[in-house]
């Protein structure tokens, strides 16, 4: 058909398109939403009118309030709860994507048994058989049971697990996952304990602040409670009389918070402590901010080489002095430590040095979430040292039964921790996770819990905002999709047969337990004079919080003497491994638990616009020196391991640093996560930080080798074109 012209082609294709469109119309279900009438209509459901249910988000541990739109018994949209004191009506992309956990096609649809660990041949079993198995294993294990919980384990379930463990004299449940390490919760708590005598997560009053110095804390992206901070940041930027506050971000690689900052200071990894210490020293020496602040600074400032500190941020000393002055002379200055700085080998010292800046302006800035006036407390996070102790007990065969809920130890720990070998020594592993993750793949049984949109719970929020203690409520917004049982009920049923535990766990089901806890709270902002009303209001409004923040004094400085700082140590000789490795949690996938949700996989990373994969961020100058460009696959090697990923040339990173987002590289967790990207935690050793309690996950150096292949980056745009005269701030 050599003479088939363009016009002829168009004619034929027009006819083809018309037939295709008509064929599409003929499919009735495609044209119209299929009718799905009820077999039994629930009383509260009316066709065409949505019901909204208040609950708590469990995509990360922040504890934001959500409201879920339910049409005809189907959850169709999640929004932020406008009444909730944490997120005040806002919700992040991860929270919005919770629907895809509920509707995930790879959910475990009922109780299963796996004959051979890792075979992934799961054989369905009846629930009474599953619960009986749990009972028998618990009975046989006695106090040799270990419970491992994580970020997405509801507070009530942790409390039930903790009561069980106490009843059978087993160790306290471990609450640790990659999120807790990346948030640096233990480092923060340790630093606050050293400075203020309160080992809790801090709250920062951003609404009143006029200057914020953030040291690596991506508090608008992936750190602690980003949505709550985001609301406060909006108020920080829009204060009265046009005042908009000043944000200075110190970090080696730009985060979304750095992109929003008025000044971005690319500090050398591990030198944040030095810079914070230098700021204190300058304020003390120059007497900035009045005698009271200068005196306080003098008491806290250690010996610091100011020139070295300025050099570590590529600033002139005069610039650092100007920054110190801006901070000290502000009415309400706030300093926020977080991110990779908490994962450095000097993590606790670095965080302490930054928190010490908050001590200058004592009445503003930092506070601690007041306790809830009842027996309810936020479950404590475990330190990495406690995790190591458990891994050692498992390796020694002292753990006969391991229960895992809301955590994925095989993925969450670096391989050097020995977790895989330790799990092999455990007689029985039971996972309660809704998807087959890397740990469930090694489990003998999976007794899937309901997802958070189908289940009950509560969460004592830590940190909360505005000085309000908050207990957030979680209730089923839809009926369970599959034959899955709430883990609380499964545990209570199994524990009934165990004499030591039966009296400690007398509740008929988990709802009875939750109700008992909640009705013990006094009357809060949502009212309710008797128990039933208070319980109903707890669900209706999405939680309990008091009408006004309780009186609380500004945290008193408990520490005496200066905070002595030192630069962090890194694994690997500089000659062999020339670059710092900067790992960071993905704003979308978090620590990797959200990799199973295609909405979040497909959403572009806010800084690089890359989706669906792992990439290595390299400064243009470094890329030029290495002879690599966008999409060139490189091998990133540390003393502990290696990963391969394509390069993204990124101007907002130091030339001596390469950054890799975490979250991908799953071998399980469903079709959207599996075999996609690489898990950069494999580059990290399992060493503890100087304080001997936390994983030093940000302490590796790497070398980069160009491989002879390319992998296209799924990105919406590139910040620089080849040959463009780029602006690099170094």
């Amino acid at each position: 058909m050599t003479h088939f012209t363009r016009r002829d082609f168009l004619k034929v294709s027009a006819a083809g398109t018309a037939t295709a469109i008509l064929a599409g119309c003929a499919q009735e279900t495609e044209r119209w939403v299929a009718l799905e009438p009820y077999v039994r209509a629930p009383e509260e459901q009316l066709a065409g009118i949505p019901n909204w249910y208040a609950s708590t988000c469990r995509m990360c541990p922040a504890g934001c309030g959500i409201i879920v739109r339910v049409m005809n018994g189907r959850a169709v949209k999640i929004e932020g709860n406008p009444e909730h004191p944490v997120n005040r009506g806002k919700l992040c992309a991860r929270g919005q994507s919770g629907l895809q956990l509920l509707y995930n096609p790879d959910r475990v649809t009922g109780a299963v048994r796996q004959e051979e660990r890792g075979s992934r041949k799961f054989e369905p079993i009846a629930w009474n058989e599953a619960i009986n198995a749990l009972y028998e294993k618990l009975d046989a294990a006695g106090d040799a049971v270990a419970i491992w919980t994580g970020s997405t384990t509801s507070g009530h379930l942790y409390d039930l697990f903790a009561r069980y463990a106490a009843a059978v004299s087993a160790p306290v449940p471990v609450r640790y996952d990659l999120t807790s390490a990346l948030n640096g919760v233990n480092t923060l708590a340790a630093a606050n304990d050293a400075l203020f005598g309160q080992g809790a997560l801090p709250s920062y009053a951003l609404t009143q602040a006029d200057v914020i110095f953030s040291f690596g804390a991506d508090f608008l992206g992936a750190w602690l409670s980003a949505t709550g901070f985001g609301v406060e940041f909006g108020q920080f930027r829009g204060q009265r009389f046009g005042k908009r506050g000043l944000l200075v971000q110190f970090e080696p690689k730009m985060t979304i918070t750095g992109a929003k900052a008025d000044r971005w200071v690319p500090v050398q990894p591990g030198a944040e402590a030095l810079v914070a210490g230098a700021l204190l020293r300058i304020i003390a020496e120059e007497g900035f901010g009045g005698p009271a602040r200068a005196e306080m600074a003098a008491a806290l400032a250690g010996a610091v080489d100011l020139d070295a500190a300025a050099a570590a941020c590529d600033l002139k000393l005069a610039d650092l002095v100007a920054l110190a002055r801006a901070f000290a002379e502000a009415e309400h200055p706030v300093a926020i430590p977080g991110g990779a700085l908490a994962g450095a080998s000097n993590g606790v010292v670095a965080v302490t040095a930054v928190q010490a800046l908050n001590a200058l302006a004592r009445s503003s800035g930092l506070s601690f979430t007041p306790a809830v006036p009842a027996a309810l407390v936020a479950p404590p996070w475990s330190s990495y040292a406690e995790v190591q102790a458990l891994v050692e007990r498992m390796s020694a065969g002292e753990v006969r039964l391991l229960l895992v809920h809301g955590a994925n130890p095989v993925y969450d720990l670096p391989p050097g921790s020995g977790i895989a070998d330790a799990l092999a020594k455990v007689e029985t592993i039971i996972s309660f996770n809704p998807l087959v993750d890397e740990t469930s793949a090694l489990a003998d049984y999976i007794l899937p819990d309901r997802t958070y949109l189908e289940g009950w719970g509560y969460e004592v929020v830590q940190p909360a905002f505005g000085g309000l203690p908050v207990v957030s409520s979680q209730q089923p917004v839809v009926g369970p999709f599959y034959d899955v049982r709430p883990t609380g009920d499964v545990l209570l049923t199994a524990a009934r047969g165990i004499p030591a535990a039966a009296s400690a766990l007398p509740w008929t089901d988990e709802v009875a337990f939750i109700k008992e806890q909640i009705t013990a709270l006094p009357k809060g902002a949502n009212g309710g004079d008797d128990d039933e009303v208070r319980w109903a209001r707890f669900q209706q409004y999405g939680g309990w919080w008091p009408e006004a923040a309780p009186e609380s004094a500004a945290p008193e400085l408990a520490a005496q003497g200066p905070v002595e700082v030192a630069a962090a140590a890194f694994d690997g000789e500089e000659a062999q491994y020339p670059y710092y490795l900067h790992l960071y949690p993905s704003v979308l996938l978090g620590d990797g638990r959200e990799a199973s949700l295609p909405w979040l996989q497909g959403a572009p990373d806010p800084l690089t616009t890359v989706a669906w994969q792992t990439w290595v961020e390299i400064n243009p100058a470094t890329a030029q020196a290495l002879g690599v460009d966008h999409g060139d696959v490189v091998r990133v090697e540390s003393p502990h391991g290696a990963v391969e990923a394509p390069v993204y040339v990124f101007p907002a990173i130091r030339p001596d640093t390469v950054a890799i987002p975490l979250g991908q590289g799953h071998s399980d967790l469903g079709r959207y996560a599996r075999e996609r990207g690489s898990h950069a935690l494999h580059l990290v050793g399992a060493a503890l930080d100087d304080a001997g309690a936390n994983l030093a996950w940000s302490s590796a150096r790497v070398r980069i080798t160009k491989l002879d292949r390319k992998q296209a980056l799924a990105r919406l745009e590139s910040t620089i074109d080849p040959g463009e005269d780029i602006h690099v701030p170094f």
């Binding site: 058909m1 003479h3 088939f4 012209t5 016009r7 002829d8 004619k11 034929v12 006819a15 083809g16 018309a18 037939t19 008509l22 064929a23 119309c25 003929a26 009735e28 119209w32 299929a34 009718l35 799905e36 009438p37 009820y38 077999v39 039994r40 209509a41 009316l46 066709a47 065409g48 009118i49």
Partner: protein, 178 residues
Amino acid sequence: MRRLASLSLRQRLLFGGMVLGGAALIVILLVIVIAQTSADDGQPIAFNHKIHAENGIQCQFCHTGVAKGPVAGIPSVEKCMGCHEYIATDSAQIQKLHGYWEHQEPIPWKRVNDQPSFVYFNHASHIAAAVSCGACHGAVEEMTVAEPVVTMNMGFCLDCHAQQENKDALWDCAVCHR
């Protein structure tokens, strides 16, 4: 069609065949589409509206949402069984209903009347304005299986809106396209 004339016989046949084949496909599909918009075949149970109306059952007894919200609603199987547990149990159609109830399955009714998703339509405001069901749905009480006897296009809506007292407000595009 000089260009067509320049084609060889084989090319002409091939091209003509493609065009004819396409046209034939369009005709066949149109017939299928037209046939499908009539809801009469394909309803899982040949529900008889007439017999229910004759027995004095109001529309709202089953289509409960009509005065309360945008959607009139299809009754649940439970509602049907409320009467048909005992009434007309020997009818073949009612036995089908019993089958759905026994398996606790919803009845996959086919839609008879619909508006596209870019039209906002609310039953409740029409009922509140005393528009009878039959004004839009025809004499359903005379039908056995419900038929889409009225073409519910934009002209049909506007004909009625134009006759209302507050017709200026009801003539606004954003009343329905919002």
